[in-house]
């Protein structure tokens, strides 16, 4: 479970996140939506422990900066995080060794699913941006994290990889993981989101659960209604 309580992140006087509260339960997919500059990526970086903040963030009951929390966390950043001078398979070896994880089979399966098996000996710098993104996703998932945070994961991915990633979202949920996805591609999460948090100007403008949503409205309609005050009527 990811628990965020009273999180405020300031840059000087500017509040990028203002007193945010929410949780992502085990076996739940939460999506973080909002226009550019709403504070989604900042919030994600606070959760992953990359930024300082006021408030409390817990990963399965552990403070997010603790070693226990880091063991449980998987993070796919906005920009692919790839080492230029390591091959694809060395990236996986690096992650497995760093997280002291022995299960290489899962990582191999991920390579297969993202059609990266034949790229195993390619260096990070030789990969296209889309392939770097796939590798970044594989690295974040290779150690089987219990809480996974995706920041714009679909950017640059080909249709096959998008399909696989969508399946992975569902698999993670079915296996009891807490999944938080920040995205602008509303249709990409339309089919399987459980909770939608819509951010505007650093605060949550609305939080909706999938079962509570008026079935006649799509996620997209709800988004525009809240962020722009518009409806189709």
């Amino acid at each position: 479970m990811i628990s965020i309580q009273g999180v405020t992140k300031k840059y000087g006087k500017f509040k990028a996140n203002d007193d945010i509260d929410f949780t992502v339960e085990d076996g739940q997919i939460a999506v973080l939506l909002g226009p550019n500059g709403a504070g989604k990526s900042t919030l994600i970086k606070c959760i992953t422990g990359l930024l300082r903040f006021e408030g409390l963030i817990e990963i399965d009951g552990h403070n997010n900066k603790s070693i226990e929390a880091k063991k449980l966390l998987g993070y796919i950043p906005e920009m692919p995080a790839v080492y230029d001078m390591l091959t694809v398979s060395e990236h996986i070896e690096f992650i497995l060794r760093a997280y002291k994880c022995d299960d290489r089979d899962y990582a191999e399966k991920l390579l297969e699913r993202f059609e990266m098996t034949d790229k195993k000996d390619k260096l990070g710098k030789e990969l296209s941006k889309g392939m770097q993104q796939k590798l970044s996703i594989i690295c974040a998932l290779a150690h089987k994290p219990k809480c996974v945070i995706f920041d714009e994961p679909m950017v640059g991915l080909d249709p096959h990889a998008i399909k696989e990633l969508k399946e992975i979202f569902v698999e993670l949920r079915n296996n009891g993981a807490s999944v938080l996805i920040s995205t602008h591609m509303l249709d990409s999460v339309e089919d399987y989101w459980d909770v939608a948090n819509i951010m505007v100007n650093g605060t949550f403008a609305a939080t909706k659960t999938n079962d509570s949503l008026d079935s006649s409205k799509s996620l997209e309609e709800m988004f525009f209604e809240i962020t722009e005050g518009k409806t189709d009527e």
């Binding site: 970086k45 422990g49 930024l51 995080a81 230029d84 001078m85 091959t87 760093a98």
Partner: protein, 526 residues
């Protein structure tokens, strides 16, 4: 304003000025910079009368020759290897596709490059106090050196761009051009050195100066011509117009020929420049992001794959070893090798002057090379923050490879220097220990600056702070050495060992203060 190129240049310049006013950080930096420059002039002039015996002015002109030579060859060499471009990615994307003729765009690039070149030589202005005190020159001289340095850097960039464009279709041709270029410069340097040697080994400094001041040297392309202008302006009681005119004409002719060479390729230069721009753009981005020093080589030999070892945070050490092997920097990278060569040559020239000047130069250059460690690059990706280990442990493992290099570098360099200067084994040991302690200290100070000033967006200011704190933390060792030398009868090698211990303790203190640098990525928001 009908001409789009004039509009872009003027608007960018105007916005640059406005951004200085809007960003207090930049304004403070410029004010500090101006204050330091004024202080330098003031301090230089204050000491008038303290130094009666000025050194030989030709010696200063020879130093300028070396400065111009290093600038010209390094700018050109790195440009030919990695792609030199006078254009930014936005120029390529917006201007190259626009209905503007290629030649005006080239001129636009040249003007832009001149501006950049001017910025490169600002450090020269701060040498005023030293050169004024030792050689009795006035502010006009230092401004002339600054402008000529900018001109040499500009010619270096231009040469690199021309060679890159003319040889871009063929890797072999480019390599041939690259090594021929360096061969010609090296031949010039060896020629000066051999001529100096032919005068005997007794007064090596004087001989090198005499050799570098000879007439043929002044006709060496670009480097010699700039020295000719400088000599014409300042060497005699009155200005030697002939030298100034010949030197200037040769420089102008060189620039015109280079531009004509680009024109020969006509519109074709777009494709070549595009590639060079992409490469140099990645280098600039890398620098902006703090990936100091390393631009990923174009052709990397993967070799043996696999990290082989490591569990938990020590995997960083093994990863760094693999990365360094592929970057062909397994023990020493090119920059370190250049610095070692410079120090060794300096030791040869100064062999009768004692070890201190060589030690000081070596340590000064080390301040730059330490900032290039692989650990710096680690701060830019999220893994080092996310991996579940204690920050101090991760930090140690990230620094491990750098420490191995620091030790290897110290041993190799001072064994060579020791042999050149015929030092006692204990003196060599003392120098090695001093060098290692400085390596640890500078690494610590680098981290310290990242930890406490990493958020400053103006990187030049961070660099100044790095130098200031490096000097501050080195003070205890310098004071210790001074007291021991001045008030006790301690042998030199023992002073070195004791100072190295003090310096190491300062280094450990900086590392301890900065131990949480891997706690948050925003501390290293480069």
């Amino acid at each position: 304003m009908n001409n789009p190129l004039v509009y872009v240049l003027a608007t960018r310049f105007k916005n640059k000025l406005l951004s200085i006013v809007k960003k207090p950080g930049q304004l403070i930096f410029i004010l500090i910079f101006a204050a330091m420059f004024i202080f330098t002039i003031f301090a230089g002039n204050q000491s008038d009368g303290l130094f009666y015996n000025y050194r030989d002015f030709n010696e200063l002109l020879s130093i300028c020759l070396v400065l111009f030579g290093v600038s010209y060859s390094l700018t050109s060499f790195s440009g030919i290897s990695k792609g030199a471009s006078m254009f930014s990615m936005s120029d390529v994307n917006l201007l190259f596709s626009s209905p503007v003729r290629p030649i005006p765009i080239l001129i636009y690039g040249l003007i832009q490059q001149m501006g950049t070149s001017l910025l490169l030589g600002f450090f020269i202005l701060f040498q005023y106090t030293t050169v004024h005190n030792f050689y009795g020159v006035d502010i006009k001289f230092i401004i002339a050196v600054f402008l000529l340095y900018a001109l040499v850097s500009f010619c270096g960039q231009l040469t690199a761009m021309v060679i890159y464009i003319l040889t871009s279709s063929d890797e072999k041709k480019r390599n041939l051009a690259k090594y021929s270029f360096i061969g010609i410069i090296a031949a010039g340097a060896v020629g000066i050195f051999l001529y100096a040697l032919s005068m005997g080994q007794e007064n090596m400094i004087e001989n090198v100066v005499t050799s570098a001041s000879s007439l043929p040297v002044m006709f060496f392309p670009v480097i010699g011509w700039t020295k000719m202008i400088l000599t014409g302006l300042f060497a005699g009681e009155t200005v030697n117009i002939l030298y100034v005119v010949i030197g200037s004409l040769l420089m102008i002719a060189y620039i015109v020929v280079m531009v004509l060479l680009v024109k020969v390729k006509q519109t074709d230069y777009y494709e070549d420049v595009l590639k060079a721009t992409e490469i140099s753009f990645s280098a600039i981005t890398a620098k902006k992001e703090g990936k100091l020093g390393e631009v990923v080589p174009q052709n990397v030999k993967v070799g043996k794959t696999g990290l082989g070892s490591g569990n938990g945070s020590d995997v960083f050490y093994y990863k760094h070893k693999v990365e360094s092997r592929r970057a062909k920097a397994f023990i020493f990278d090119v920059q370190t090798l250049v610095y070692m060569a410079v120090t060794s040559v300096f030791a040869f020239v100064m062999k009768n002057e004692g070890i201190l000047p060589v030690l000081v130069l070596g340590i000064y250059l080390q301040m730059f090379s330490v900032a290039l460690g692989r650990w710096v690059k680690e701060l830019l990706l999220p893994y080092v923050y996310l991996i579940p280990e204690k920050p101090m442990k991760k930090l140690f493992n990230c620094l491990k490879e750098s420490f191995v290099k620091i030790i290897a570098e110290a041993v190799v360099l001072f064994v060579i220097v020791g042999l050149i200067m015929k030092l006692e084994p204990l003196e060599i040991l003392g120098c090695i220990l001093i060098r290692i302690s400085c390596g640890i200290l500078f690494t610590g100070v680098n981290l310290f600056c990242d930890r406490f000033f990493g958020g400053i967006s103006l990187k030049a200011l961070t660099l100044i702070l790095y130098f200031l704190f490096a000097m501050l933390f080195t003070l205890p060792a310098i004071i210790t050495a001074f007291i021991l030398y001045q008030f006790t009868y301690t042998e030199v090698w023992l002073i070195c060992v004791i100072s190295a211990v003090v310096n190491t303790l300062s280094g450990i203190l900086t590392l301890f203060i900065s131990r949480n640098v891997l706690q948050y990525a925003e501390l290293n928001n480069r």
